[in-house]
């Protein structure tokens, strides 16, 4: 008997942003999430929705409870801007908390969950954190948290963000942080729901990081990450070469990455734990196993 959780994937990107990333060879955020979830749980059934699209229909409260989990992607919107696309997603996050369906998400998703539950996000005074978030350290609470079972206490992860969580709502627990970003992961407990949010991106791999970087080379050069376009192209090529051939230990060493980044089982321990510790228990409680 297989385990067939139903997971709703929210791809928070605007259509225009999705098109831009697709043109640069990047996989859509929702598709990356489906790939990650089905890798962790091969029989998971995932539905992807795009809340920013005109006429997008989000499941109502009753329909939400047909799902065993809600997984949110990152996105290039800004959570503290008062726009219809942002407000729709905050409202939907509240509906998820009310429904009690467990949530998981990266970057924007963690910020949305925090704001929906009464917390605050602001621009990170350290600027953009890009590429590899280094030296993420679990808090004592994170070390004891089920999301980090089997994870080392200090690790690196893929990242790309300019905003950060500055205030978590009461009932939330900060699980990890690094020197750049004080809140790298958080567990938000609100109303009937639980949401595990990461500021970093376990769904990325080196290829996706390379494509995202390629799409942003000019912006990143302006921000000082690359001296010129050629330096950016060279960096992207290094990421892609290492992605194609993990035996290139010389490149891994030059880029300063190890198994935290290269080994999917290590990189995605949080996702597997979310399915085991929150999604499957929800299925059982709903009589779906």
């Amino acid at each position: 008997m297989g385990i067939h959780p139903r997971i709703l994937v929210i791809d928070g990107y605007l259509k225009s942003s999705r098109d831009e990333l697709a043109a640069g060879g990047a996989t859509g955020a929702g598709d990356q999430y489906v790939k990650m979830l089905t890798q962790a749980c091969p029989d998971a059934k995932c539905d992807v929705i795009f809340p920013c699209d005109p006429g997008a229909s989000l499941p109502t409260g009753a329909a939400l409870s047909d799902y065993d989990g809600v997984a949110w992607t990152g996105c290039s919107l800004t959570v503290f801007e008062d726009t219809p696309e942002v407000n729709t997603q905050i409202g939907f996050a509240r509906a998820c908390f009310e429904s009690g369906v467990p949530g998981f998400g990266s970057c924007w998703a963690a910020q949305i969950a925090v704001v929906a539950a009464g917390g605050i996000c602001r621009p990170n005074p350290n600027g953009r954190e890009m590429g590899i978030a280094r030296k993420i350290a679990l808090t004592p609470e994170g070390r004891g948290h089920p999301m980090y079972e089997g994870k080392a206490s200090v690790f690196d992860a893929f990242i790309s963000h300019v905003d950060e969580i500055t205030h978590v709502p009461s009932g939330s627990v900060v699980l990890s942080g690094n020197n750049f970003t004080a809140v790298q992961s958080v567990s938000v407990v609100y109303k009937r729901g639980v949401f595990w949010g990461l500021q970093y991106h376990p769904e990325y791999d080196l290829r996706e990081m390379a494509r995202l970087t390629w799409c942003r080379i000019d912006v990143l050069t302006k921000l000082g990450f690359f001296q010129d376009r050629q330096a950016g192209e060279d960096y992207v090529a290094q990421l892609e070469t290492l992605h194609e051939d993990h035996s290139r230990e010389d490149l891994a060493w030059l880029l300063g990455v190890d198994n935290d980044i290269l080994n999917e089982d290590v990189r995605r321990a949080e996702v597997r734990n979310w399915i085991d510790r929150l999604v499957i228990p929800t299925m059982i409680r709903n009589g779906r196993v």
């Binding site: 280094r134 690196d156 010389d250």
Partner: protein, 289 residues
Amino acid sequence: MSISPRILIGEGNTRERNEKLLAAGARTGSGCYQQAIKYLFPSARVDILMAADLDTQMPDGKVLDDYDGFVLGGSGLNLPGGEHDPHVRQQVELAKTVFEAGVPFLGSCWGLQIAAAATGGQVSVNPRGRELGIARKISLTPEGRGSGFFDGKVGVFDSPAIHFDEVTHLPSGSTILAENGHTSVQAASIKHQRGTFWGIQYHPEFDLAHIADLVRSYTELLIGEGFYKDNDAALKHAGQMDVLHQNPDRQDLAWLLGVDRDVLDPRIRFREIENWIVHQVLPRMAYRT
């Protein structure tokens, strides 16, 4: 008021090796330490003892007891397989003398290994291979967090490193203060006879320019060990480290090389050396005068 501790630095390399380094325009290990100590305490009175040379003599006919502290840094020698090498034996005996005299003792890399071997510990080849360039994600143990050795350091940090062997067994009376995924003993304290030793497996006394010099000096060996694809890759990487050392504000290079203030800011990088002088050397100086 100028503070003038008297510190003896042991040079762990033999004359032949040092002549090669100097001829290539590089500094010796003891030269790096001297520079670091003078940066922190410009009035420190520093002497160098050629600890590996068999015809060595104490500077100006002084005895160990004339000093407020003794430092032993890196060496190209190896304890595993080198147990009967007189250049190695001599340094183990010297370390025993330092413990007997109760002179505050600081060691990095080889210095830590020699102190462990002199007090009944063991050193073996690291099964993960050479740790080169930057030791990443060094994490303080609770004992390290509480030790004065790490005052002002964050709980997780990077530091320059180059080593092939590691301490596997410490004598009783020792405490492990830091670790990372590559090396279980990144820092330790050893209490033995009248002495207290503080040691680190990494090299806070090295800067990026010295790592670059070592890369150029050991290029063939490092290509053989898989760190570089070819000579060009090694020279390019060494060149990048030199440029960043000269221009620490080159954020693009810092980001590409994956280094931050832990490595680039000498006030942070030298903190263990500073703490050793403050907590171990200065009190001895006060009691002597």
